[in-house]
Amino acid sequence: MFESEFFLTYVAPPLWMLGQSVLLLVLLLVFVAYILYADRKIFAAVQMRRGPNVVGPWGLLQSFADLLKFVIKEPIIPSGANKGVFLLAPLVAGVLALSAWAVVPIADGWAVADPNLGLLFVFAISSLEVYGIIMGGWASNSKYPFLASLRSAAQMVSYEVSIGFVIITVLLCVGSLNLTDVVNSQADGLGTRIGLPVNSFLDWHWLALFPMFIVFFISAIAETNRPPFDLPEAESELVAGHMVEYSSTPFLLFFLGEFVAICLMCALTTILFLGGWLPPIDIAPFNWIHGSVWFVLKGLFVFFCMAMVRSIVPRYRYDQLMRLGWKVFLPLSLFMVFATAFVLQIMGWA
């Protein structure tokens, strides 16, 4: 049976892909559980608190206890809510955030799918994530969620523009939208061009495209609604924004989607600017370690920076947020697109 053509063309590849996807999802969800824990621990450490420390040794099982608590609670649907859309919204938020991970390469060749336009796919999915918030905010039929959905629609559309331009500058340097190509092209870059003997972290795009690295980092925080740009769920004014009316598993899905999106943005920063799975210096002890380890370490570094920003910087006001997006980042990234194209053409590196 296993040698038949039908099995080899129609049954085996989907099963193989399903297996890979399930493995990726399980690893990702466990990772997200500990990212959540790390986030709370870092936040606590900055405020000189101890953070979660009761469930399990050093509180390591806190996220799983929270998961259990969310799942066994009663889901409450407000009587005025639009029931279908109300339940669809958290599903959209959760599923979209997870689906973008299908194209993320953890190490060379370690991706469920590696399409030609992987970068554009991730960009498209992240531009859809706003729907979870808008639908949830509208369907709750309440003031605070509605205000949150209006804010988040404006915020995410604004910052997508600068993320798009950042992706274009990277595309100009790489010449391909394939995520594996993006990483491999960073193996030799600015560092080797100025005459360094080995490939090192100076070759990666963060140095050559430094302003874009900063723009992308800040836009990634804004795009995932993390503090200081967490206006859609500003606790002090909107209680919890689009999530006010949600409880139990639907709330869990929103929360999960948010953190998976944050992990995705960390991974994307790593791929676009920090050389993905490449070792920081391509010499003996460093290149013995497998690429996936470097990838995770770099992703964690970016996440640590985001967590520090969250605990240190006060929340932006709405008009300041819009000003930063449209009057600072948009002209800067537009200029960088032209400057990058100019330099590449003049130096003949294109």
Binding site: N82, N116, F121, A124, S127, M135, W138, L150, A153, R323
Partner: protein
């Protein structure tokens, strides 16, 4: 039966069904959500044809930006549906004319294709082999050489539309205080704070 055909019928059915629901559903927000579903499945159809770039751009531009603004506007509207449905029949003539024009155009296109299948080949550039060149390169090669004037013209139209939108919404008000960030950043303690020795009972 190939898998591609299966997916084609799946996407096509959902596209048509959700397009029907856009006009059939009573709640305008549901209409927009069905419109988004229709866009999504149309991009799935593009993807099946191997036009990955068009498929993803359709999602980024239409679903990610345009439909968000649709939803934004529709959610803000306070429409009285009973009143809206009263004058429904008075739009029948103009709606009928538009429908008829679209139907005739579709018949013309499909009819010319049926009469002379080779005709379609003369109008378009040959599609390059997907193995040789990538999707974006193929579109870029055509768009920036053969159709450069149309490209620039559409850019100009968009620019005019953008300037128009800005002019319509630009209103300068003198009675509102605005934040000037560069002023704030450039302030320092020297010119912001002055120390004065004030004698008691006198004031400044």
């Amino acid at each position: 039966m190939s898998v591609i055909a299966l997916f084609f019928y799946l996407f096509a059915t959902v596209t048509v069904a959700s397009a029907f629901m856009v006009i059939a559903s009573r709640n305008p927000v549901h209409s927009v959500l069905f419109l988004i579903l229709a866009f999504f499945n149309a991009s799935g159809l593009f993807m099946l044809m191997g036009a990955e770039f068009l498929a993803l751009i359709l999602i980024v531009v239409y679903v990610g930006a345009v439909a968000v603004l649709f939803l934004f506007v529709v959610m803000m509207l306070d429409v009285d549906f009973a009143e809206l449905r009263e004058g429904f029949l008075q739009y029948l003539p103009i709606g009928g004319i538009i429908g008829a024009v679209l139907a005739i155009e579709l018949i013309l296109v499909l009819g010319s294709y049926t009469i002379d299948p080779g005709d379609a080949q003369t109008a378009v550039q040959p599609i390059p082999d997907l193995a040789e060149t990538s999707n974006i390169k193929a579109i870029g090669d055509l768009l920036y050489t053969r159709y450069i004037f149309f490209f620039q013209l559409s850019g100009l139209v968009l620019l005019v539309a953008m300037i128009g939108a800005i002019v319509l919404t630009l209103s300068h008000r003198d009675d509102v205080k605005r934040q000037n960030i560069s002023d704030q950043v450039n302030r320092n303690s020297k010119d912001a704070v002055t120390l004065r020795g004030v004698k008691s009972g006198e004031g400044i």
